[in-house]
Symmetry: C4
Subunit: 406 residues, 4 copies
Amino acid sequence: MNQNDRREIQKPAVTRRDFFKTAAVSAGAMAVAGLAVKVEAAEAAGPAAAPAAAAGAPAAAAPGGKTLPEVMKAAREKLYPKCRVCPECDGQACSGEVPGMGGIGTGKAFRNNLEALASYGLAMKTFHDVKKPDTSITLFGEKLSMPILSAITGGVTYNMGLKGKVTEEEYMEGVIGGCIAAGTLGFAADGIEDPVTTYATRLAVIKKFGGKGLAQVKPRAQVDIIERMHMVEASGAKAIFIDIDSAGRAARCKPPQIVEPKTPAQLRELVKATKLPFVIKGVMTPEEAQLAVDVGAAGIVVSNHGGRVLDHTPGTAKVLPAIAKAVKGRTLVFADGGVRYGSDVLKLLALGANAVLVGRPVLRGSVGGGAEGVKLVLEKMRSELVDAMVLTGTASVKKVSRSILA
Amino acid sequence: MNQNDRREIQKPAVTRRDFFKTAAVSAGAMAVAGLAVKVEAAEAAGPAAAPAAAAGAPAAAAPGGKTLPEVMKAAREKLYPKCRVCPECDGQACSGEVPGMGGIGTGKAFRNNLEALASYGLAMKTFHDVKKPDTSITLFGEKLSMPILSAITGGVTYNMGLKGKVTEEEYMEGVIGGCIAAGTLGFAADGIEDPVTTYATRLAVIKKFGGKGLAQVKPRAQVDIIERMHMVEASGAKAIFIDIDSAGRAARCKPPQIVEPKTPAQLRELVKATKLPFVIKGVMTPEEAQLAVDVGAAGIVVSNHGGRVLDHTPGTAKVLPAIAKAVKGRTLVFADGGVRYGSDVLKLLALGANAVLVGRPVLRGSVGGGAEGVKLVLEKMRSELVDAMVLTGTASVKKVSRSILA
Amino acid sequence: MNQNDRREIQKPAVTRRDFFKTAAVSAGAMAVAGLAVKVEAAEAAGPAAAPAAAAGAPAAAAPGGKTLPEVMKAAREKLYPKCRVCPECDGQACSGEVPGMGGIGTGKAFRNNLEALASYGLAMKTFHDVKKPDTSITLFGEKLSMPILSAITGGVTYNMGLKGKVTEEEYMEGVIGGCIAAGTLGFAADGIEDPVTTYATRLAVIKKFGGKGLAQVKPRAQVDIIERMHMVEASGAKAIFIDIDSAGRAARCKPPQIVEPKTPAQLRELVKATKLPFVIKGVMTPEEAQLAVDVGAAGIVVSNHGGRVLDHTPGTAKVLPAIAKAVKGRTLVFADGGVRYGSDVLKLLALGANAVLVGRPVLRGSVGGGAEGVKLVLEKMRSELVDAMVLTGTASVKKVSRSILA
Amino acid sequence: MNQNDRREIQKPAVTRRDFFKTAAVSAGAMAVAGLAVKVEAAEAAGPAAAPAAAAGAPAAAAPGGKTLPEVMKAAREKLYPKCRVCPECDGQACSGEVPGMGGIGTGKAFRNNLEALASYGLAMKTFHDVKKPDTSITLFGEKLSMPILSAITGGVTYNMGLKGKVTEEEYMEGVIGGCIAAGTLGFAADGIEDPVTTYATRLAVIKKFGGKGLAQVKPRAQVDIIERMHMVEASGAKAIFIDIDSAGRAARCKPPQIVEPKTPAQLRELVKATKLPFVIKGVMTPEEAQLAVDVGAAGIVVSNHGGRVLDHTPGTAKVLPAIAKAVKGRTLVFADGGVRYGSDVLKLLALGANAVLVGRPVLRGSVGGGAEGVKLVLEKMRSELVDAMVLTGTASVKKVSRSILA
């Protein structure tokens, strides 16, 4: 390691040294038990005192002058204790906290996402001429700077505990505006108990940004979904995603707030009911991926809902290869779950994803720094992606070889 | 994660945040080492101060008005330090505490139960129309609301340290009454040194509840078992279980308190000695499962006695598939060991169980809230089971596909 | 778990609850990371204050009236900080402490012994009539109560830090006398720098006990070994063991204190030089086990010297099966390393050992309670062995089926 | 363990007991989570108060009188908090700290090096006559006392935080002078942003020591490399290494400070441009190892840059066997990454390396004790190597059998 390594990644204003370090250790499905100690440190630090250090965050200031560590510090002050903004966001501290930021039950499904990603190594390759790799993709007719979207997040009050601190609209402007600033797209979310008027408010943000955004709907009654689809079309959004993995509450929902699993026939009806690309989020098996193709879905998202709906669901990086093998090329394949670094993005692309969604880090960016914060989060991730592409000889995100995985 | 996730699982009055969080991490046989930190927290908290948080417990109040977190808090205050009512009941804090609540020796057999369960993932499936899955079964002629029974627990004084706080009769009324209130059945237990009169007192509770209960006998001398069988028949109980896994003390027992392993001939004699269904608890190999069928047993319980009799016995979820393959359909297959969530129940059904037994959580429910507490514990578990069934496309607990395991 | 479980293992006067509990977790090669927390507790407790709890120790008092927990408490007070007498003796606290009680370097070889043992499960079997299993064996013409010997331990001053507290002779009387009291045999040890006169002093203890003991020699120059062999013969000891695994210092020894690896020809010469059975300790491969048979050794000890001579040596329980398969029946097969419970003994027998050696627990027994302490340690272990035999249907230690391993 | 074990490894002046011990646990890819606790202790101790204990360090004083523990204590006082000089240097405390001493991102690549090494056991063998094994090799025409070189380290200011404490020249004199004193060779490093004049200063140290050293160049523009090659030739250095694994910054470098991956044609040009042996560092696949042979490289270093350039690169000990199989005998094979003990050196030799490079331990030796400190570090490692060779029956480092790995 040489003196000039200093520019490899710029030093954060607040270093991770301020937290006790822990073993992120894991290969295959592995134990990360000691991480609890980190959590203990985070808990002890309390909401205000603790400096929120973003892992390896470059201190490059946005126009507004904030650095990413400053954004994370601000996020922690607002989110604590709903989110502790841990040095490594790994689902330990918040396990079982649903609503909240954690994985359901034991939190294993959340951790599975991280462990599945960590189970893949990267084969370093340097005998080539890939110096300036291309991270751009075209998605839904939009040219994007990177194959990274925001994930679908919401619930400013109930999940994030931000009542009186951040409004749903401010939050959404941060996500969607920040994604645009970074050259990509963010999501307007739907909530099971939201009246249509609330949904309209969110879509207004997309409209305000010239339609540069994506929208999600809950797996509601068919008629209610179709009503919302028309609203989405009017907003100018580029595509509609249904998070069918929200169906777990089917037996407990009280009308009119119904969510339900959907039969292929119902899904086909929805595909036909909109002129927009219709993407199904929550596909975790090759069988359902094939069904999604059969009903005409424009894409699928391999997702276990951030580990928040069914404990012990596998990590998405574990099931992605078989799913991509089954349907890649016939429908778009997205993936989310546990993406923290650019190297995670590269792994998911190598495993078969066309693009990935990033949830909690973007959420913290928006809460801590608005659009500027989200932009910093995404640009750091893109920068890491570029470095990883150089060191694996990957010229373009549009064609990532499985052989880079070790 | 959206705003309306808030009803997915109701927020506990006392959140798990009050404990340090830890890695429940494990896949295959996995390490959960860091959990010790949690225990440290629990120990530090002490018996009275510590709020006892039930993992993801719904705060739904029973008629008496208690919430499940309140029940768990009360349980902790009574049981500490025999049971710390840890955020995750995982055998760490109590390892080696026999008598007490722990696993014997290193406690590995206790943890094996949890690790074996955690080694199975769940394949999320949402392209279907299973909205209101059926959790009912018929057992020993009784229609039950769920495939979940209490496990066989007792020893209010020696195992639980409740002398002067809870009587054996109060405890048993909680278990049996609570099970009935939740639509299922609980157990009256036998203890090696109990005189027949004590056993009679317990069976009186079953009789009081109209025979809606199950009874267990220790592997005593044949004549002593048969004497007790007649008492059980008189109580109206629906079946007799022998926990043959208590035989480890055979070499150390002093007459008249004999326990012993049983030959197939002895077991056959016992089957013939009662008109009630006779179930053998403690079967851990396909060979003995087959022998149980041969001698005419109505059922078997795949059980390692909660990890309390022989260190390093495998987790029950590990040995269950081979056992179910050998005898399912020819005898009833029950399983216990480490069941904490509805998803655990679903896994055991997928692995071949007809129904499962739940020990420590029900025990805490009874100690902390009597029948009301037990009912809350069981209803939470049934609710989680329903959600897991929806998200795996499982219409009925009577037919659970192995394919939902990932 | 029933009320009467209370006699299954008698409650220690000082419970393990006084230490933070930790994950002994492991299956196959497993992580026991969290154990560090226990160590922390042990360290914090300090030498005097900390109650030394023996894991699951029966409180049965010896004639002198001491209970095993009391013996362990006394051992801790004397041995701290050389040995912390941790609740689980697992090589965490003392890793790298050579001389001392730990494993060399990273301590991995020490831990490998424990992890290898823990990687085997036990198949519970109760459909049989094994009520009073036979634990006796005949070894070197002696009828022993159990297949458990002391291991070879010494170095009261340097390894144990007992200068001014316990003399070498007192220590040895505890080991050899305690083993005799428990119906088995203990070892008189040799030390590299000991003059012949010191060795003579130790052998005098064996002579004092009527020759009921075993003796070990270092892999010295041939002539020096043969000189000591004659002394051993004169003491009446039943066999001579050479701990050839001490040869690591060959390049650093200064004459006359030479140790060295031995060629088969040299070993053959030693076998012929004594009328006593000659056993080679430190065999870790089937190839060398075969060579031991070839040179006429009466037995071998599968041992990595307690993990104290070569880091990263495998656990003995891992290599034992292949070694036993190669030579069992043609020479005696002993094993040591990480034996803490009777179930560990049963596992090693199932894996092919004729008998096992127990080091650190016996050492603590002698330091904390002399012969009485050693007897308590061994009798607890024998009692656990009996229970494990009943629950696996093992009638005799002379014939243990591999099928009891799960 | 006997009294005379005391000389096996001399007792450090400051023992590891002063730190809480932790699980180094791991076999295959394993969890070392609990290690965090150690780190916590290290952090709490602070820079000045904490005694810096070298793991198992012999207290043998160098001529100047310093012992290795004293050197490590001095290193810690200077390096803290850039390096905590942890009892086990395992990448936990410093994870993500680039620049600094840690692994990039999650730090997994750093830890992979240690875990890969730990995944190999050592088969103890003692039936032979290897008493004084030969550790010497001849490399680049130089007879070396051991197959251990310094690794390539630099960045006194940015990576080590030593501004005002240690100059780059002092640091380099420590490394190169210490290596010579121990009978081996050290490296003069290149830094991306160093002007040629700085590089010249470093090479002057090699010249001062009569050319007894090695030099490294960054993967700069071809012309810049060739300019530096001529400077290296003039210094008398024995070989030139290019750390092509520094190419990750290719997309972010600003001219004239260019680094870049290299095509085989470019590498061939470099080989031809110097009369010195040209070695390529950063080879992690058999394919690129073969290419290195094709272009005429004198050697390769299997290295992931200490885990500092691409997260999740495999441990070098994991990829080494396939690489050695592909090219051993046709080019020199070096390896680095996680070498802490002589047994690690022996493992890498058994896996196919001709020699190994040691980074962080040598770095701490130089900072804490200059040439004397480096010599102590290397001699301890050689001594451990000798012991491990005796106990595996390895007569010479030039021929190490794969069969010693268990």
